[in-house]
């Protein structure tokens, strides 16, 4: 930048007064996507209508487990208006799934592994016609024995769902920190309890699907509502045999995700091949019915916890878990690992062991779901804490506080807690419930804590947890920020806009976010593990630093001062030594473009491995997060002893969020978290199968979601600990309350009527049965 012309700036009469340290972060900024959404103008998959688009439909196996002898598509192909029929023969033999174990063809080869498995697909002029065509496809099946329960599927005599695996135990995870044998031998008391959680369906209000347009020039453009546009692009390119440069994932509204849209789905692949074969764009959206039995679900679990207590503290824990992974492995290994790892981090303990088994069964595929192993292990751990406290005559709140992690602690799993507001969370949540006040009889209060991850190294690609951001600044100092995550409803665009605005001293009106589209947006592995708030925010901050450097260098010459003597604040570049010397950002930006013939562009690439490598001991745990949010959930209930019905008065959730980028959005995340957690804990019935291995539920009459009337009062408390692991102290929080509600409810129920339920969901049926047993025991 030698050709910069110096322009001497005289000190001005006015002075730039320093504002509060943070001007945009922490504000209840209006969401960038709100106007589009309240006016009905946001475009979701079903609203995308490329000219000439056909409707795609999938023929699914009615059988839980069957060999496919033959598929005859002749009649379907003959139907007027049907433009393509595809089976396994039409696709590359590419298996999708997490890289650790890819075991699912987008269309079944010679085996259907659950009732709902994708057998063939058609594209036709309209949906009704596509349905008719499906009925004309003749499939000859040979029925095989099937397993709905992991314990049956694990037996040596069971036929493996995937022959190449040799067993239905698709993954095992074993961890040991310290010496649990010694720990139990030394313990004063040992407790062992088993807990179960049911399958939960994501029930995104928008069903899953994909609009694919495979053009004659060999490019493939898809609109698929996804949490991970770049990851979908990468695997889709592999699945259809195209170079990455020829596959484009477009930005599209995402009608709820909650983990279910983390991976490449068979639907993406099927829609793409239908488009290839028909030569037309294809729109393939599930019906609500298919959505229940043929999209991913939460893993049902059986978790056994053995806990050793010494000197009033938890010393040793052994967690064993069996997860029902459904018919394909997908995320099962990672969820299992996360479950086991989370269990080690809840409290300060000395020894920890985990034995986990991910088992395949002939049921719907289990995948990522908000909490990611947390609800299963959290329900068990935090129920058992109260059970132990009860047996030892300890106060459950004090017992937790005594064992709680603190800022600076290193957990047994090697997570260094750069900030931990757990104690404050417990205090705030219990205060909100007036914990110390006497309670009326028949009522109870329950507390549970939650632990989670923000950022997760190596979810997809070895150790990668990379986020990229680019910032282009225009002549008027407004900016385009390109980031690779997607707005799945959690407020990504808005909060990332706030981070960029904060970093460059701009108002939100000057920030434009480009996300969700692989061609226009920077690279990112995806929106999972509450990572956007930490990795994308960091990438933006790095890009902003570059932009800021470029501006300051030019401004320094313009102002005849040293660049490092300048800083950016509220749309101005100001001298650190004399606040009367400043230029507006737009003056500088305009000069860079028009005066110097240059442009302003900053790039930030953030990956925890590269950025934290020199911070010794920061993330010694295998995998491992970047930051660790904690929470405490307290609730009160009243129980009707005659009916087992209960009513929750209030749920207080205090969450250590590091710093809330946008309190309204953060509260919204907590409240949504409560909704998923409370649904799991109370009315969402799991996915049940009949004797033929076919699912019962196909609608929202049978599978219930809580309604406006059912939801209790919620107090969402943001505990700010300014976590140094995140930029501006931010860490992601969008899952931990879901993991925590179940145990808080179970504990409150016990407090109210002395009934301990160890299997979710907690229903009036179970409570009344226990109350009756209580009565007969006298």
């Amino acid at each position: 930048m030698n050709n910069i012309q110096t322009k001497k700036i005289k000190p001005r009469a006015e002075s730039r007064v320093s504002a509060t340290p943070l001007r945009v972060i922490g504000k209840r900024t209006k969401r960038l996507d709100a106007d589009r959404k309240v006016t009905g103008l946001e475009l979701y998959m079903e609203d995308i209508n490329p000219p000439g688009a056909l409707w795609g439909k999938i023929l699914r196996s009615p059988h839980a487990h069957a060999r496919i002898i033959s598929i005859d598509t002749t009649e379907a192909e003959r139907l007027t208006g049907v433009k393509a029929v595809i089976t396994f023969r039409d696709i590359l033999p590419y298996k999708i799934g997490m890289p650790t174990l890819q075991d699912q063809f987008a269309l079944c080869d010679d085996r259907a592994r659950y009732s709902g498995d994708e057998v063939a697909a058609v594209a036709a002029r309209d949906e009704g016609l596509a349905e008719k065509a499906l009925k004309l496809i003749k499939v000859e099946y040979e029925i095989l024995p099937f397993y709905l329960d992991p314990l049956d599927a694990m037996k040596d005599s069971a036929i493996p769902l995937h022959e190449e695996l040799g067993s239905n135990i698709a993954v095992e995870k074993h961890l040991e920190y310290g010496n649990t044998d010694k720990g139990f031998a030394d313990a004063d008391h040992i407790f062992e309890d088993t807990f179960e959680t049911q399958r939960q369906c994501h029930v995104c209000m928008e069903v899953h699907g994909c609009v694919a347009d495979w053009k004659s020039d060999g490019t493939l453009s898809v609109w698929t509502s996804t949490q991970s546009p770049h990851t979908v692009k990468r695997y889709l390119a592999d699945a259809v045999g195209l170079p990455l440069s020829q596959v484009r994932v477009n930005r599209v509204g995402v009608g709820g995700a909650f983990g279910s849209r983390t991976d490449l789905s068979p639907i993406d692949v099927i829609a793409s091949y239908l488009s290839k074969k028909s030569g037309k764009p294809v729109k393939l959206l599930l019906s609500r019915q298919e959505e229940f039995y043929a999209s991913v679900t939460r893993h049902p679990s059986v978790v056994t916890i053995k806990t050793g207590v010494k000197d009033g503290k938890i010393s040793t824990r052994h967690v064993s878990a069996i997860l029902n992974g459904g018919a394909y492995t997908t995320q099962t290994g990672a969820v299992l690992g996360s479950l086991g790892w989370k269990g080690a981090n809840y409290y300060q303990i000395e020894n920890y062991k985990f034995d986990g088994f991910g088992v395949l069964t002939n049921t719907a595929v289990a995948g990522a779901y908000r909490g990611y192993g947390g609800p299963q292990v959290g329900f068990a751990l935090e129920s058992q804490i109260d059970m132990i406290a009860d047996r030892l005559g300890l106060d459950p709140v004090e017992f937790r506080l005594k064992n709680a992690n603190q800022t600076g602690d290193l957990t047994i799993a090697g997570s260094l807690l750069s900030a931990c507001g757990l104690t404050e969370c417990i205090e705030k949540a219990t205060e909100s419930l007036a914990w110390k006040e006497p309670k009326p009889s028949g009522t109870g209060r329950g507390l549970a804590i939650g632990f989670g991850e923000s950022g997760w190294r190596g979810a997809y690609y070895n150790n990668s947890d990379v986020s990229v951001a680019t910032i282009k600044m225009n002549q008027d100092a407004s900016i385009h920020v390109s980031v690779g995550g997607s707005e799945i409803g959690a407020g990504y665009d808005t909060t990332m806009g706030q981070v960029a605005a904060e970093a460059l001293g701009l108002p939100m009106e000057k920030v434009k976010i480009q996300s969700g589209s692989t061609d226009e947006a920077a690279y990112d592995t995806g929106m999972y593990a509450s990572r956007g708030a930490i990795t994308s925010a960091k990438a933006i901050s790095l890009a902003a630093t570059e932009v800021s450097k470029q501006l300051c260098q030019v401004a320094a010459k313009m102002m005849d001062v040293q660049a490092d003597a300048l800083f950016i604040e509220d749309q101005h570049i100001v001298s650190k030594t004399n606040r009367n010397i400043f230029l507006s950002l737009s003056e500088v930006a305009e000069h860079i473009y028009d005066g110097l013939g240059l442009a302003i562009l900053g790039t930030g690439i953030y990956d925890p491995l590269t950025h934290l490598a020199d911070e010794k001991g920061y993330h010694p745990s295998p995998g491992g997060a970047i930051a660790y949010p904690f929470c405490a959930v307290a609730l009160d209930i009243s129980v009707n002893r005659e009916t087992g019905q209960f009513k929750i008065g209030k749920i207080a959730s205090a969450v250590d969020c590091g710093r809330a980028i946008n309190p309204t959005i953060a509260e919204g995340q907590i409240e949504g978290d409560v909704f998923h957690g409370l649904g799991l804990a109370t009315v969402e019935p799991g996915l049940l199968y009949n004797a033929a291995g076919q699912p019962y539920y196909q609608n929202l009459v049978d599978y219930k979601l809580l309604t406006t009337v059912d939801m209790p009062e919620m107090d969402s408390i943001l505990v700010e600990t300014a976590d140094p692991a995140g930029v501006y102290g931010i860490k992601g929080i969008t899952q931990i309350v879901t993991s925590t509600v179940g145990a808080a409810l179970a504990n409150a129920l016990f407090d109210a009527v002395g009934v301990r339920i160890k299997e979710l969901p907690i229903t009036p049926e179970k409570i009344l049965a226990e109350l009756k047993k209580q009565q007969t025991r006298g």
């Binding site: 019915q289 009916t643 019962y696």
Partner: protein
């Protein structure tokens, strides 16, 4: 089946009830009556049982009315919406149990669309209005090209989603005898969430004379293949003193008389237990209402 699209059918919209009856008479086997559509269109989307011809009567104003007079009782046109029942002064005055059922029925949108005739014809063991109407001694008025028929609701249901309607017949009205000012009533249901089909439901109509049950009618939903009356319990209660012990004894009789099933909404055991509670709660509410009068 996709619930985005409906299978094909011919839609016939007659301008009058007589025209509708004539059309049904011409093709009694293929044509089905479509009222509010909230049950039938769902069934058509979700199964292969759809009819090839639908006769849409939803806009026939001659079937959309509620009349009540103390001497002749209640008549509801078959196309009376659930919303109209919820907003009806007649219900408020004399049939509180119908108001109980209407107020929390499904959701507002379905209340605006769904009709009482549809609810009766759907013959669901879990239909909220059916126990109410049974307890009200309601009757179903049917028209066809032959003579009109009046069928007692207690004889109308013959199985889950099966009723006495014959091909060619249209339910045109539901009637119920008047209830004296001594009568009061209530309907109670247990559900998983605020918008759900009932695990169990109980409707009672009662009158008290001199501290004794002078009239009592008890009907239950979701505990049998059809909504049922529990005559044993009614017989037991008649002329008994109104005491907690007597009501509890009646609850026991009710529990012994039913044989509910286990499904994903509840268990047989729980249904049995809370049917007694639902009955007791309904009686308590009805008694309280009587005191207020």
């Amino acid at each position: 089946m996709s619930t985005r699209v409906l299978p094909e059918f011919t839609l016939i919209v007659p301008p009058t009830l007589d025209a509708a009856i004539a059309i049904l008479g011409e093709r009694p086997e293929q044509a089905r009556i479509l009222a509010g559509g909230t049950d039938m269109l769902v069934e058509m989307k979700c199964s292969d049982r759809g009819a090839k011809t639908l006769v849409k009567i939803g806009r026939l104003s001659e079937l959309n009315f509620i009349t009540y007079n103390p001497a002749r009782g209640l008549t509801m046109g078959a196309l009376t919406t659930i919303r109209a029942i919820a907003d009806s002064p007649a219900m408020k005055q004399s049939y509180s149990l119908m108001l109980d059922a209407a107020r929390d029925f499904a959701n507002i949108q379905i209340m605006n669309m769904g009709t009482i005739g549809g609810n009766v014809c759907n013959a669901s063991p879990a239909g909220d209005f059916l126990p109410c109407l049974l307890a009200m001694n309601a009757e179903v008025v049917l028209r066809s090209s032959a003579e009109p028929r009046i069928v007692k609701l207690s004889e109308f249901f013959i199985g889950p989603r099966k009723s006495q309607i014959r091909p060619g017949e249209i339910v045109v009205a539901i009637t119920a005898p008047e209830l004296s000012t001594l009568h009061s009533s209530a309907f109670v249901r247990f559900t998983r969430t605020a918008e759900d089909l009932a695990k169990v439901s109980a409707a009672v109509v009662l009158s008290i004379d001199d501290g004794k049950f002078s009239d009592i009618r008890i009907a239950l939903g979701s505990v049998a293949p059809t909504p049922i009356r529990v005559l044993e319990a009614e017989d037991f209660l008649k002329n008994q003193e109104v005491t907690d012990a007597v009501i509890s004894k009646a609850a026991k009789i009710i529990q012994a008389a039913i044989k509910p099933i286990s499904d994903f909404r509840s268990t047989a055991e729980y249904r049995t237990d809370i049917t007694g509670v639902a009955f007791k709660q309904a009686v308590a509410i009805a008694l309280a209402r009587r005191t207020i009068q």
